[in-house]
Symmetry: C2
Subunit: 302 residues, 2 copies
């Protein structure tokens, strides 16, 4: 039932020797999701010892190279390593054609099925849902069609009150249904789930917003998430650059975090001009205290 | 008048944590050439402290991803850093469309001119020539259209015999022309270049062959080069794989080196299955003694 976010790349358009372009690996209740896939992502995955054949879902936010130029190489490597399991790729219209034209130029194909699901501009909804996780998408505001994502770990299985269950003679074979919230009728007696189990905590949510200018409609989509990743390419002194390129400042990210009452703010996509994230923290903290800056290799547990 | 080859990536199709996919940086008489550009090449260039805005010529051998997936990212970064100088890119038919479709999908363009020169399958000739260097290409035999390259550092300026020139009253303003091989007539006297200068050594040549099966026609094109890079994806015990994938073994590479009487053989493009190049050296050395295996970051001076 773990839920973690690993930063594979925390940089912006120009990679530096310390910051690779955007990519994140999210592990949530044994589901494995890659968000964005800048150049060199497969090398980062390998360096960090992540088993990338486990990845079943890839979410691409938009078609700027620092968010997807590594995808074709990652898929090629999965193929060369004999992957058989299908994969789902969610991204903007045009992504499939760009990837497949490169594969065809090399005379290649895939040993596994790729389901490309292209997201319409300015749309929102559910991308994926099963018993354990849910993935939503929503529009951001950038120079090209861009989506943000929320990954939800659904309410966990309830905890069994083992002593009481034993005391009242509940059969072991009924434990599983009680933990799933079902009431049991057995030999004329009714066993209510709520009497024999207790909540194991609320849903956990992670939201990803990159790249975007400040956009108030985002607040509703990321309301109350436990961890919000929001791009903070610039600081306020470069507000002009932020406006011109449709990016956010550290203040923008902090304002979204504050207005959405999130648990923690993680900033990233820092312009290559910044040596480190100190000034971003300094600018964001007076607005939203619980904030930090992503570094390549960092792992955050929700 | 330097001539060096820096290995940015020595691996094959599947990158490992020690071997990036193929890319080499060649510096020859102040000309700066990139050969192939696998994913992550721009990161390698940055890590090795190479000034990549100096690169004026890029040669792409073929359209398998491990030889060009890094090109679009490198060009994007050159653009973002405000490059103004034009660049020449030589590669197989289709390369321009693959690169430009990705740039257009991101709504982008370039601050500099890119001259794509697409090489016809199975053709050979001169790609570039100026006073100091010459670049030739020739066909290799792989699963898709593939070219090899030879970079020649032309005969250097001759060395002036300063003492003799002074003794015979040659004017300083004539030194330059004598060193360039011209004879001078001045105040009724003839000064022959060959009397006042001496050779500063022969042409130097570097040949690049990746990817290819053993192909005897290559021998003529790389005859007598000082340094031959030849792929050696496999060892002889995987001859079946080499045939099926149209790659070479260490023995193939050594046989080409021997038959072409090259100065030194550099093997690369090792399959990810090999921990290091020891077995490649062991297999190649009985055929051609002066051989080694490329590692990422190595620099070879001709």
């Amino acid at each position: 039932m773990s839920f973690s976010v690993t930063i594979l790349g925390s940089g912006a358009a120009i990679p530096t020797s310390r910051r690779n372009p955007t990519a994140q690996y999210v592990q949530c209740s044994e589901r494995h999701v890659l968000i964005d896939c800048g150049e060199g992502t497969q090398i980062q995955i390998r360096k960090l010892g992540i088993k990338f054949q486990r990845i079943n879902h890839i979410l691409i936010s938009h078609l700027h190279g620092d968010h997807y130029f590594g995808l074709v190489g990652l898929l090629s490597t999965m193929h060369l390593m004999g992957r058989e399991k299908s994969i789902q790729i969610f991204g903007p219209p045009g992504l499939k054609a760009l990837i497949m034209s490169q594969i065809h130029a090399g005379g290649g194909g895939f040993t596994f099925e790729i389901n490309f699901i292209e997201l319409e501009k300015d749309s929102s909804g559910i991308l994926f849902e099963d018993a354990k996780i849910k993935i939503n998408y929503f529009p951001l505001s950038h120079r090209v069609s861009t989506s943000g994502f929320v990954i939800t770990q659904k309410v966990k299985e309830r905890k069994l009150r083992v002593d009481k269950a034993k005391e009242d003679g509940v059969k072991i074979e009924h434990y599983h249904r009680l933990k799933a919230g079902e009431d049991i009728e057995f030999e004329g007696k009714v066993f209510l789930s709520e009497n024999y189990t207790e909540s194991s905590g609320p849903e956990l949510k992670y939201a990803f917003c990159s790249d975007t200018e400040y956009m108030s409609s985002v607040i509703e989509f990321v309301k109350g998430v436990d961890l919000l990743y929001h791009e903070a390419t610039f600081l306020e002194d470069l507000r002009d650059r932020a406006i011109a390129t449709k990016h956010s400042t550290a203040s923008d990210a902090a304002n979204i975090a504050k207005e959405a009452s999130v648990g923690k703010l993680l900033m990233g996509h820092l312009s290559a001009r910044y040596e480190n994230g100190n000034l971003h923290i300094e600018e964001a903290r007076p607005i939203f205290e619980n904030c930090l800056v992503a570094e390549d290799g960092d792992q955050f547990i929700l």
